[in-house]
Symmetry: C2
Subunit: 333 residues, 2 copies
Amino acid sequence: MKVTMKDIAKEADVSIATVSHVINETKHISEDKYKKIMQLINKYNYIPNSTARNLREKRTKTAGMVVSSFPDTFITEMVYGVEERAREMGYNLLLVNTNEDTDYEEETIHLLHSKMVDGIILSPTSNDIEYLNKFTNENFPIVLVNRYNDIAKNTPKVTGDNFQTGYDATTHLLKHGHEKIGMVYGVSNVSTTDERINGYKEGLRQYNLPFQESYLELGHATVSGGAAAVKSLLKRHNDITALFVQNDLMAIGAISQIKDFALKIPEDIALIGFGDFASAPIIDPPVTNIVLPPDTIGKTAFDVLLSKINNPDYLKHIELPPSLITRKSCGCK
Amino acid sequence: MKVTMKDIAKEADVSIATVSHVINETKHISEDKYKKIMQLINKYNYIPNSTARNLREKRTKTAGMVVSSFPDTFITEMVYGVEERAREMGYNLLLVNTNEDTDYEEETIHLLHSKMVDGIILSPTSNDIEYLNKFTNENFPIVLVNRYNDIAKNTPKVTGDNFQTGYDATTHLLKHGHEKIGMVYGVSNVSTTDERINGYKEGLRQYNLPFQESYLELGHATVSGGAAAVKSLLKRHNDITALFVQNDLMAIGAISQIKDFALKIPEDIALIGFGDFASAPIIDPPVTNIVLPPDTIGKTAFDVLLSKINNPDYLKHIELPPSLITRKSCGCK
DNA sequence: TTGAAAGCGCTAACAA
DNA sequence: TTGTTAGCGCTTTCAA
């Protein structure tokens, strides 16, 4: 059986209150009792039951993290950032992956709430997050990360500047002289995609080029999804000379597909990917990527969550800028 | 304030026992009361406080998962497998990354234990896991995944067959005629590395080739670590004509470094990497990898954990076989 | 069919 | 400096 405070108290011949006080250092205890208790704690390798403590204290020192897709470099590194900062601050992390399932996401938030996590960092599956207001209205701390939607009230946000991301990628391609630029993305109805598309439009507008919906292609956010999307896009528009692909796995699939078409990168089709995945420099050709800093976003998100926990009025939208890492696939060099 | 069972009971004018019974369907309750209670539950969006329930029931329906490194494709996909199966079985997952820090690992296990997770899946940082016996002796369910050491008693294990992995990779290179084969790895004092080295030795032995320690090189399990390791290894032995690199990021770094040396793959140096990372087919040259199935390992590990939770005597070592995915970097085709 | 009450392990207010 | 005790929200035994 697991040792409890009561056991320690009995064996030390003191009250459980005394044991509690030495553990939490909440009152001064005479040295002999202190020593005796400490010795028993060591002897039995006793650790207070967190569940009981949580029930009593109404906080758990654990945070929930809910993401919508998992084997994805950007998300993984974001999680890593959150995890690292959480650890530094003495928090645990309850991680859930919703796999882009909205209903499961709502269920998960309910569940985590009932587990009394002190707050949640959420990268939502879609724009449909009005349900969050049920929680945020009663001041349960939820911070949105990566994706967001303003229908969710009382939620601080930490995101990349996705408008700028779309704009910079597009403009870079435009500067290389491309006018027919395709865009491949993996999820619809989320702020990241929406804003990158807006940035793309703005880029075109500034070059007096028309925007056409049909140059956009949605696919699965996987290697094969990227390949399929490019296939369908190029069949529809064989005049496309440049591609902006929104996620690392899709970019890899896109490159495979382009090669299968016996097209040259960047001569026939220039390409900009997203996120600085490790293999980008050694792919043939090396891949130009537009990058948002996932680890910084993750760490910041956790800091923001702590701020929200400690101050219910805290409300900010922190937006981090992108940067472009040019290699050969876009036509540079 | 959060709604509790008491609040529901009061408003429904029944006892909390009655409310509890309708929630858990543990007794039959008359229809009118049942309806009234259900209606209030919906009205207030009431969910029982898990912490209280856990304290009472002494189980939490959450499992701990402790891994030692994070932005690593193999680990990430393994976590994904565990996560997916856990979800299917109605469990939550408390994820902790120890970053290859042994002390932190031990702390973490203590902490998770005190949080009353129902069991833990651990991919340990090192072979020094005797401390686990403190927990497993009292039948706290811990399953080892990926890495293991037999000094930990009473722990089921789910791993890849790493001896075979090392053997198959080495033999494949041997068949291509290589005799001076270098091996680059990212962590020492763990079963995965140790067994792969044993497999490597056995391969050499069967070809009557001598084993030399100095053909082994330890580096950081990162892109730059892989590059550095190859640099140092090739400086020491410029007669090396083939390399087996134990992890995806290191393989990427190795390839960069080999290119920096203006050496050709596979003509000057053949290479086999580990784990089928997405970009392997489009790297120049496409990378041959030896593969262990991380998602299957993860899912199996969770199943095994459930078995251990339900049957304290459960004790198995499940070992999954590797497979070789040949592309050009090893000299095939 | 329903309810009263004990108790899970802990913290902290209060009393001594 | 130390101890007594109420109570966190729930489940479940026992009694009605």
